[in-house]
Structure formats: C-alpha cells, structure tokens
C-alpha cells in the first residue's frame, strides 16, 4: 500500500452535488505530488478531504497504513499551508511557528530548538519577534511553511501557496519550497492551477478534470505525452487539424486531413478509421514559404508586430486558427498571403475527436 492512499472516495457539498466520486490516488512516501487542474476540477476538495476539513461520504483514506476517515483534523498530524497564509495575526513569527508544538506538549527547550531550526530552514532568522503584519507576502508564506513543517507532519498539504505572490517572487519561492521539501524529505501534496509551477516543482503531477484524475505521471510525461486531449489542451497544446486516421504504426499515425496526410504521434485512444484531432504547440509550429513534407496550407489573417518578433494568426480552414511567432527577419508574409505550416511529427499528437465543445483554458 502506498504511503497515502485514497480509495473510491466520494465527497459532496451540502447542496448534494458531488465534487469527488470514485476518486483514487496513491502517493509514495517522500514524493512531491501536484494536483493540477482548472478551477472547479476538485483539486482543492481533494486536499481539504485529506486535511479532514471535508467529510468523506464514501471510500477510504489511508495514511501510513492507518484508516483516517474518522480521525478529526486536529489528530491527523498534517501540515497545511494556505493560499492566504492564514498566520495568526496576534502572534509573533516565533509564536506562530511554535503553535503546533505547544499543542503537542513538546518540552519548552526542545520546542525552542525546533522552532529556531524551522525558521532557519525557511530563511527567516532574525525575524522571530516580528508580527505577521510587518512581513512581506513572501516572508509570511515562509512563516506559513515553517509553521507547517515544524511539527514534522506525515504529509505536507499546500493549497496554491504562491498564487498571492507577484511573478518574480513566485519563481523564487518555487525553488525555495522544492529545496525545503527535499531537505526534510516530506511527502507533499501541492495544489495549483499553474501548469508551469506543477511541472517545475513536482516528482509527480496529477491532472484533474471534473473530479477525476485525467492523467498522473512525471512532469515530462504530462508535458510531452498528454494522454488525452484535455491534458493536451491544459498543457498548452492547440488544435491544428481535423481528419481521419488512415494508419497506425509503432507510435505514429497518419491522419488524412483532406488536404494532405500528416504523420504525427498517435495516442492510445485512436484507432484506424476514427475521426481525429491533431494537437501541436505554438512554438513548434514553423511557417514555410513552400509546401514540404508534413505541412498544412494556411492563410495569414493578421500580422502583429511585437518588437522583437512578429505574431502571425493563420487560418487553416475548418475554423482552426493558430498563432505562430516568427523573428522579425523571417516575417516575410503579409495579411492575405498563403503560408505553409510545418507539423513536427514527434511533437504533435492525434487524439480521438470528441463531439463536445472544447473548454478554453487560455483564460485560466
């Protein structure tokens, strides 16, 4: 059994709607796992269920082999880091961090030693007597982390801990959190809607979609080999062509688009003869003057000068539009021109065409 295991978990809110249903998750000891997904996908619900803030209606939650369904939060020995830091406003940094140890009735001398060590690990030495209101956002979150790890919890739960920080600080704190996590080797579950954050920090990423795990794997897998079109979309792929699968051979497939036949990677969900959608990443789409092997014809709809580059919006028929960024010296086309787009056979993937409308994640 894995260190943390959720088996067929069902969780619902008061109005009867189920947020999680038949939810399964296994996390090995010492792993940094990210729960990634758009808002409303159930990632925070999953975290709050593990924390005990939400009751489990069905299924079982095991941590370290022990059934946790009926254990109240304050007996769970978990560290929780919150999006809004949730520091105790009336207590100093030291008193915030020592809180959990006091609750556990740790000896005062031992307490002090552990608190000072935790404060040092998060890089806040010298700030012990400050009140939270006199700290910056980044520092406050460091206190939040110190407070959660000082109790040596079985699992560290982090709920979008960086989303209230500004962009630069966020990058810095990513590295910090990862360093701290490795230093103490703590099993961590990290909720985020930011795919680059999940990719950069995690050992494992679980991508959630409406209460289910859509794909769980190493960051590289999720990023380069999305298993479903939902994952592909969320990880920055865009739709570039529609067609019919003509042939599948050794991980590759040929998709007949009507205009041409494209060779791309095949996903497990397609079969010969099925309708397929080809996905690719914007930065792997190169514009060509003439048709070459594995390319699509398009029409330049707009040319947008961006300073050091030019953004082309190209229409490919079937109401598919793609964006392509080109350096200024290669910006040879004008609006209305015909261009060809090279489709990278190793970086583009074909998925089965689903009839439902795509959700657009660009706005998230």
């Amino acid at each position: 059994m894995a260190f943390l295991e959720m088996k067929n978990i069902a969780v619902m809110y008061q109005k009867g709607q189920r947020i999680l249903e038949n939810f399964n998750l296994q996390v090995e000891r010492g792993t940094f796992l990210s729960l990634l997904g758009p808002s409303g996908c159930g990632k925070t619900t999953t975290l709050r269920t593990i924390a005990g803030f939400l009751a489990i209606q069905e299924g079982e939650l095991f941590i370290n082999g022990k059934l946790y369904n009926r254990v109240p939060t304050h007996r769970r020995n978990l560290g929780v880091v919150f999006q809004n830091y949730a520091l105790f406003p009336h207590l100093s940094v030291f008193d915030n961090v020592v809180f959990g140890l006091k609750m556990r009735k740790v000896e005062p001398s031992e307490r002090k030693k552990r608190v000072m060590k935790a404060i040092e690990i998060v890089g806040l030495k010298g700030f012990e007597e400050r009140l939270p209101s006199r700290l910056s956002g980044g520092q406050q979150q460091r206190v939040g982390i110190a407070r959660a790890v000082v109790i040596e919890p079985d699992v560290l739960l982090m709920d979008e801990p960086l989303s209230n920080l500004d962009a630069n600080l966020r990058l810095e704190m990513r590295a910090e959190i990862r360093r701290i996590q490795k230093e103490i080797g703590i099993t961590t579950i990290y909720v985020t809607h930011d795919q680059s954050e999940a990719i950069a920090m995690s050992d494992r990423v679980a991508l959630l979609n409406s209460g289910r795990i859509e794909q769980l794997g190493m960051p590289q897998e999720i990023f380069y080999s999305p298993g479903t079109s939902f994952v592909a979309k969320f990880m920055g792929f865009q739709e570039i062509a529609n067609g019919t699968v003509r042939e599948i051979t050794g991980g590759k497939c040929f998709v007949n688009t009507g205009e041409t036949s494209l060779e791309v990677r095949s996903s497990s969900e397609i079969s010969r003869g099925c309708k397929a959608v080809v996905f690719g990443r914007q930065k792997n789409l190169n514009l060509l003057k003439e048709r070459s092997d594995n390319s699509l014809k398009g029409l330049v709809k707009a040319k947008i000068f961006q300073g050091d580059s030019v953004l082309y919006i190209v229409e490919l028929g079937d109401q598919i539009q793609i964006n392509s960024e080109v350096s200024v010296e290669h910006a040879l086309w004008n609006e209305g021109d015909t261009v060809f787009i090279a489709i990278d056979r190793n970086l583009s993937i074909a998925f089965k065409r689903e009839e439902r409308k795509w959700t657009n994640f660009k706005s998230i």
């Binding site: 924390a51 304050h74 978990l78 105790f88 609750m103 407070r147 109790i151």
Partner: protein, 259 residues
C-alpha cells in the same frame, strides 16, 4: 480655497445644528436662576452639587449603569455563539437569524416594550429590576450579533483551519485564535450596547415600577414637575460621560468606525 467656501458654510451650519442644542444645555447648566433659561444671567455650580446628592438621581444612575453593564454582558454571552455559528456555517434558519438582527431597528420600541410588559405581567415571576434586565438584554442582543458577525466575517476561516491542522480542537482554536483577534470588535460592540441600554427610554418606560426607575425615565418625570437647571446639569454629566467612554475606547482600541 475659493471653490469650497460655500461648502464650508454648509458644514458650519450642519455642525451648529448638531452641536448647538448641546451647547445650550451645557451653558444653561451653570445658570443661577430657578428656571432653565438661555443665556443664563449668572454663574453657579450648585446644580451639579444638587444633582449629585439627590438620592433619586443617584439610585437611578446606579440602576442604569447596572442595567447597561449586565444586559451588555449577557447579550455578549448569548450573542457570541449565535454570531459565530451564523458567520461560519450554512444551516436552516440562518436567514431568519440575520433578519431578526435588524428587527429592533424596524419595530417601534414602544411596541416591543408593550409586548414585554404584557409577557412579564402574565408570568409575574420576576422583580422589576429583573424584568428591566431581560428587556434591555433583548433590545441590545441584535446589536451584539450584528456587530460580532461583521467582525467575524473579516476574520478568515482559514486561520482557524490552520490552528486545527496544528492540533487545536475546534473549541480550543476558537478561544486561543479567534477570540484574541476579535476583542476589538467585542469591546466596540459592548460599548455600543451599553450606550443603547443606558439611553433607552421606550422599553424602560413600560418596565419600570415604583421606586425602581432608570435615569432617563427619572429625568423625564422630574422635568414634568420642575424646570430648573438641575436637568441641564445632569444632561451635561451624561454627555461628558458618554463622550468620555467613546474617546477613551477610541484611544485604546484605535477604533474610528466603531459605530
């Protein structure tokens, strides 16, 4: 600034309108004639001496203070759990509780007073002071609930969750994490309810009885028979007291938007 001179004038008129009557009372309190007049002809402090030695005023002042303090305390004890539950959980009847906290503003207090009187006469269980205490508690309770709810709404539930995740039970985290952070709100609610109770006339009017009366009622009754500066002196003392309480609490708590 030239642009704003007429605004300043409006402001001065409004201020005069608000403070003027109090000034008149204040100045009249020092008049040396047997009837209240403005402006007074001479100056004396006798009325203050007289007021502060009259048992009628002193007893009712003490009663009003007792009522103010105890009704506020009881309302706090009852109102705090209600406010907490209302601000933190969703449940049946939540709307009703929220609505009922606005009732005392809507329902004429005369009606409430009459209703309370009828009830107490029917029950015939309590002493007059006890009925007054219950009546005042009922009147100030909604103010407590409302104020404490608005304080709690500004206190993120995640802070409590943090305490619970660190090993404090729900109840314990309320006492060691929530309570220390809402004391300002509680004290300002207390001051508000104290003043509400202390100044109350309509409810007290119905519930006072022979020999047991609150200060505002005694003042009204006294005025019906005597119209001398002792009432002005008493009013001045009350104003000074109220302003004093508010000023001190603002200084101590830094609450500027207390009421």
């Amino acid at each position: 600034m030239k642009k704003n001179w007429w605004l300043s004038i409006v402001l001065i008129i409004v201020m005069l309108f608000l403070i003027g009557p109090f000034l008149i009372i204040f100045i009249s309190a020092f008049g040396n004639e047997a009837s209240l007049r403005f402006p007074p002809r001479g100056f004396t402090l006798d009325w203050f001496k007289k007021v502060l030695t009259m048992p009628m005023f002193l007893d009712s002042l003490k009663l009003s203070l007792r009522l103010g303090i105890f009704s506020s305390l009881i309302a706090m004890l009852l109102g705090l759990p209600v406010a907490y539950v209302t601000s933190r959980y969703d449940f049946r009847g939540k709307r009703f509780i929220e609505l009922s906290t606005t009732l005392p503003v809507i329902i004429p207090q005369m009606v409430a007073g009459l209703a309370l009187l009828r009830t107490f006469v029917m029950l015939n269980l309590f002493s007059i002071e006890m009925t007054l205490l219950i009546g005042h508690t009922a009147i100030v309770l909604p103010y407590v609930v409302r104020n404490v709810i608005s304080t709690l709404v500004n206190f993120p539930p995640s802070i409590e969750e943090a305490a619970v995740s660190l090993g404090a039970s729900r109840v314990r985290s309320f006492f060691i994490v929530v309570l220390p952070n809402i004391t300002t709100g509680l004290i300002s609610a207390f001051i508000l309810t104290f003043i509400t109770s202390f100044n109350n006339v309509p409810i007290s009017l119905f519930l006072t009885g022979p020999g047991v009366s609150t200060l505002p009622i005694v003042m009204m009754t006294y005025m019906e028979y005597y119209f001398n500066p002792s009432i002005a002196a008493l009013a001045t003392i009350l104003i000074a007291m109220t302003v004093g309480i508010v000023a001190i609490s603002q200084k101590l708590l830094g609450v500027s938007r207390m009421m």
